[in-house]
């Protein structure tokens, strides 16, 4: 890793080399992991039913882009819908508990219960309630996303700038206006952290849920491929999930960074 720094200095002159090195700067970790994988599979001569090489996975994706794309679209759509709904419910509940002492008393412990439930343990139960299909997958993603939204928004609604709470009290702000003009804006940075965590998790949660019960999507593709001992395809599905999860995480990170700049 350390040899990257001097290289970087000299590479700036040429644009292409420069941008390559710039991306190396952020991608070295992933590169190391992939190289270790390749090296390890080669060295220990593992059969593909145990572990294929990175290239096997890539070539499998290349040979059947249609299958991958259909599954990806399905999972992505579900994850996004669940994320939106979960963030909405979590934020709304956090706001409700902020608004009313009684609701706070009634709902906070329940929110905490839901927030602390190991959701995967609930999959069998939810599957019974919602059915063995995408509705349960959606429910899982909603619960997973609900969790950080509730926790972080609750904290953010109370992380007010110095003296601002006093200010709003002397301005005679109604609870609603205190919420709208103070607490909600103050909570935006923390909310962005929640989004960051939830965005990455939503894809993964959808994948686990599909794995256990779905009939479509990347999790199902993984499950079916594993049943056929087609590990290249199984890992291909995982790789796609990884990529979209990382991309949504990075997009949410960018959003958070922007928010933080404008909020302090």
């Amino acid at each position: 890793m350390s040899e990257l720094q001097p290289l970087e200095g000299t590479g700036v002159r040429r644009n292409a080399v420069g941008s390559l090195l710039a991306s190396l700067k952020s991608l070295w970790g992933i590169l190391v992991i992939v190289l270790l994988w390749e090296f390890w599979v080669t060295a220990s001569q593992l059969n593909t039913i145990v572990m294929p090489r990175p290239l096997d996975v890539v070539s499998d994706i290349a040979t059947a882009p249609g299958i991958y794309f259909a599954s990806m679209a399905q999972t992505l759509l579900l994850a996004m819908a669940g994320l939106t709904l979960g963030m909405f419910v979590g934020t709304a509940l956090a706001i409700l508990t902020w608004l009313s002492r009684i609701l706070a008393g009634l709902l906070t412990p329940l929110g905490l219960i839901f927030a602390s439930v190991p959701v995967v343990a609930l999959i069998p139960v939810l599957a019974r309630i919602f059915g063995y299909d995408i509705r349960t997958v959606l429910a899982i993603v909603v619960i997973i996303s609900f969790f950080p939204a509730f926790v972080f928004t609750s904290a953010g609604l109370r992380a007010l700038p110095l003296g601002s709470d006093d200010l709003f009290r002397v301005l005679g702000a109604s609870t609603f206006r205190r919420l709208w003009f103070l607490a909600i804006p103050a909570a935006v940075p923390e909310w962005a952290v929640a989004l960051r965590l939830a965005a990455a998790n939503s894809i993964l949660a959808a994948m686990v849920a599909e794995f256990l019960m779905g009939t479509s999507g990347l999790g199902h593709l993984f499950h079916a491929a594993r049943a056929d001992l087609d590990m290249s395809r199984a890992l291909g599905a995982s790789a796609i999930a990884t990529v979209i999860s990382v991309v949504s995480f990075l997009a949410a990170s960018g959003f958070e960074k922007k928010v933080r700049q404008n909020w302090s």
Partner: protein
């Protein structure tokens, strides 16, 4: 809304320019530190402000001036004693959006620009923002051109001026100012004093001003109250004799200088300073 009852038992009616609108009576305020020790910020403090009266508080650092303001703003409640505005708990005043406050630490919202920070009281009161008045006040505090700047892009004095503008924007019934001009240079401060004087003369807002500048207190106030060191108690009350409207020239007068010296002497009374 501005009915105030005259209490026949009040011993300070003579000092008050009108019936007491704000009454702080026999208030003691204690704070507890982390290590369990009690700090007595105020002891048996009584202050009254009549309708449309302008009172200035002078006193050494840490004597409880900000605490008095916070009591009147209902941000603290007294350990013992009574705080009333118009015979009612002070919180009601705030609820009716009739209170204007400039805090010692400005308390600007970091995510709003200058114009939005100043317009905030409108929004909080649920009123339409009077853009003309906002830009008029921005001009008045000398921040024209900085409407879109955010607090972290302002100098210390500029931030303070935003806080002053925000306190004035709703033409409140009661104005509480905590060293509002502390971060300003003498010239800007003088200008601000004159503007405040003008606004007060027009609107006759009942005002409680904490300041460290004796001349500022004399120029602006009807009555000046000097507090002792902690725990704060009233050690001197002065009715300012200058007629209104006051021109900046009075600051050069003999009487002004004499009163200045008198108050300065009062402030220099040896300080008790127990924790």
């Amino acid at each position: 809304m501005r009915i105030s009852t005259l209490s026949p038992h009040s011993s300070r009616d003579l000092n008050a320019a009108a019936a007491p609108l704000i009454r702080v009576s026999e208030v003691t305020k204690q704070f507890r530190l982390d290590d369990g020790r009690e700090i007595q910020a105020l002891r048996d403090m009584s202050v009254e402000l009549g309708q449309s009266e302008f009172v200035a508080l002078l006193g050494p650092s840490g004597c409880g001036k900000s605490t008095i303001l916070r009591l009147v703003a209902s941000l603290e409640s007294p350990t013992s004693g009574l705080v009333e505005v118009n015979g009612r708990p002070p919180a009601e005043l705030a609820k009716q959006h009739r209170l204007g406050v400039a805090f010692q630490d400005h308390a600007l919202l970091p995510w709003l620009d200058v114009a939005a920070n100043i317009a905030l009281p409108f929004k909080v009161a649920g009123l339409p923002v009077d853009e003309k008045q906002v830009s008029e006040l921005i001009r008045l505090v000398g921040l024209a051109g900085f409407e879109r700047a955010r607090p972290k892009q302002l100098s210390g004095g500029m931030r303070q001026r935003v806080a002053i503008a925000r306190a004035l924007i709703l033409t409140p019934d009661v104005l509480l100012l905590d060293e509002p001009f502390g971060a300003l240079d003498a010239v800007t401060r003088r200008q601000m004093n004159i503007e405040l004087q003008r606004i007060w003369s027009e609107q006759r807002i009942t005002t409680l001003l904490v300041t460290h500048a004796v001349d500022e207190a004399l120029f602006l106030a009807d009555r000046i109250i000097v507090l002792s060191g902690r725990p704060g108690r009233v050690i001197r009350t002065l009715d300012v004799p200058f007629a209104r409207p006051r021109h900046a020239d009075i600051m050069r007068s003999e009487a002004f200088h004499r009163l200045c010296d008198e108050l300065t002497d009062a402030l220099e009374t040896p300080v008790e300073q127990t924790i």
